[in-house]
């Protein structure tokens, strides 16, 4: 009957960051991993994906990027190497090939049933990822049978699709990247656009992540945010990490020949229907981007003036998003119409194995900055967990340190209580 003070579920960047923080605090722990280290990166990402963050930004507790391309963007194999290298660097106690099938809470701790026996732990850290399950709208079941449907989680490359016109649903980083790639494969691509986050790759000569980092925006915490539910549901920004550092906003896609339509409205027989709200959706994204750029400009002339390297270019604004005068409101599915639908409609964590009543009515884990209401239970790696940067690799560092501090105090309190009880 294996026992550990703490069991961490998942050996990705978050779980390993927590492992290092606990090791530094001298807390005995183990990391259970269903596959290999960085498993989701190895098995659930499309081939061409690169991180949205430049290499210089990628760091974990006591570990930083040390290659010769700080402004480059890591490919998936490079991310796997980075995370595996980290596990080796810190000597993380990882048990690979161990799938957690059920976690339950008992007196004084947790039982973790795995396919290789049950672990008992005083505390448990859920670090199994935010992108385990691809979200698909309910109406997906109404797609005609001659239309090939694939989620961004299962998509690897354009060859996975049938020949013919392709509808990409969703205009976050995933949707715009797949739309561009599939368009370049020679297929006619239509992109269904709901609420999205428009960001330039480069602003005033500097990567947008440079601005967001130095102006303190990525460090904004949950206490700074009025509407946390909304902040946690914001889609990933329309960015791509390429050597050319090109913008991948809707104008860039339109210029390449991708057709823009509104948010998916429904499927009726052999027609897919789109909302007539595209103009407003784009307006909202333009206004929000400009609000951010205003903030960055104000920072550059105010608090940030001393931090700016000399060569920052003049402030400017980008063209408003160009929306077709009369976007299509419906398209034919199957036959001569759309032959492929790619669902780039977001991801959810899979915590179906967590047998603890800690979920809200929409099935989301309730937590306060990663601290679950069940004492000793923590979660890492979710969108805006504690800070705006929580969803990035480097965001795990501060989050893991904070939660490790909380966790250690919690273990000590309980140990103290046991000692008092025994005495």
């Amino acid at each position: 009957m294996p026992v550990a003070d703490v069991v961490i579920v998942g050996a990705g960047h978050s779980g390993l960051a927590m492992s290092q923080c606990l090791a530094q605090a001298g807390v005995e722990h183990v990391v259970l991993e269903r596959g290999e280290i960085a498993n989701s990166w190895r098995t659930e990402r499309w081939d061409s994906l690169k991180l949205l963050t430049p290499n210089w930004q990628n760091r974990l507790p006591d570990y930083a990027y040390s290659g010769d391309d700080p402004d480059g963007f890591a490919s998936v194999p490079q991310v796997v190497d980075f995370i595996s290298g980290y596990a080796a660097h810190i000597g993380a106690p990882v048990l690979t090939g161990t799938t957690v099938e059920r976690v339950s809470a008992g007196e004084g701790g947790f039982a973790l049933d795995t396919d290789r026996g049950t672990w008992f732990a005083g505390a448990c850290v859920l670090a199994s990822g935010a992108c385990n399950v691809a979200n698909v709208p309910k109406c997906a079941v109404d797609l005609p049978s001659d239309v090939r449907a694939i989620t961004a989680r299962d998509y690897r490359r354009p060859d996975d699709l049938d020949a013919g016109d392709t509808l990409v649903v969703g205009a976050s980083a995933t949707g715009v990247q797949l739309a561009e790639e599939i368009h370049r494969s020679g297929r006619t691509v239509t992109l269904s656009v709901g609420e999205h986050v428009r960001l330039p790759r480069v602003y005033r000569g500097k990567d947008i992540q440079w601005w967001m980092t130095h102006a303190g925006i990525l460090d904004e915490g949950i206490a700074d945010i009025d509407d946390l539910v909304r902040a946690r549901n914001i889609p990933s920004p329309q960015l791509v990490g390429t050597r050319e550092r090109h913008n991948l906003d809707l104008n860039a896609l339109s210029d390449q020949g991708v057709r823009l339509v509104g948010r998916l409205g429904g499927i009726h027989r052999d027609r897919v229907l789109f909302s007539g709200s595209l103009a407003n959706i784009c307006k909202l994204a333009d206004l929000k981007m400009n609000r951010l750029l205003n903030t960055l400009d104000e920072w550059a002339t105010g608090d940030g003036a001393g931090n700016l390297p000399g060569e920052v270019e003049e402030a400017h604004r980008f063209d408003a998003t160009r929306v077709p005068a009369t976007p299509e409101l419906s398209l034919r599915l199957g036959g001569e119409g759309i032959r492929n639908v790619v669902w780039a409609t977001g991801y959810s964590p899979d915590l179906s194995w967590l047998d603890i009543p800690a979920f809200d009515r929409k099935g989301k884990l309730r937590h306060d900055g990663g601290v679950v209401a069940v004492p000793g239970l923590y979660v890492l790696g979710l969108s805006f967990l504690r800070r705006r940067k929580s969803s990035f690799i480097h965001g795990a560092e501060d989050d893991a340190r904070d939660l490790a501090t909380h966790l250690v105090a919690n273990l000590n309190d309980r140990a103290g209580a046991r000692v008092r009880k025994t005495a």
Partner: protein, 245 residues
Amino acid sequence: MSGLMTTNSDSGSFIFVTTLGVLNSSYAYAKAPLQTASAGAYDRAFFAPRPAIHGPQTRKEKMSDKADNGVNVEALLNAREAVSEAPEAAQFRWRAACEWKNGTHSQSTVEGYFGLGAEQRHKRTFAFDADHPETFAAEDNGATPVEYVLVGLASCLTAGVASVAQNRDIQLRSVQATLEGDMDIQGILGADADVRNGFSGIRVTYNIDADASRDDIEALVAQSQKRSAVYDIITNPTNVTVDVK
């Protein structure tokens, strides 16, 4: 910064979705279950009016540095919090009744609705005459039904502008909107089967005078669309059933 700001069609131009034309009249409508919660199960004070602060005196005393557009945003925000805890209280059912008068003239009334777990009533019954103009060889006893659609959209978006402005502490001085809906009546006359019955497009133009920058005013109008029921009804497909008793 103040001054007359005009927000025109590039932020307020909507395209009417073709669905109603495509789907014809045989809709399946998934009926929401009738709410069974007992009357008054939810505090009507969700939306209860705040103590009067609209009067100039009160405003001077309490709100001199705050925008006051006459919208009780606090109650709306409280309601949002309350319904996220008790989502069944958020289930509303709106109703209208209609009686044919003569020709294309009918009169519709609204009075009761269901919400907050109980039957509710307007302060009085509101009546709306609808007809068609003389160009349609009718008597013009009221606005045409499609004009009521424009009225619904205009009033919904404008209520939204006021609410969002209040929430963002922006004082409005005047808000005016003009709406245009384009229609090829070959559709409703059955003269050309390729022409839809409804609007081919709707344009809304706002003229807003407020204590805010142009970007902030455009953001009010954009956010108002994002939160508007009628905008959603017009831009997205809705299942409709029409039965005969």
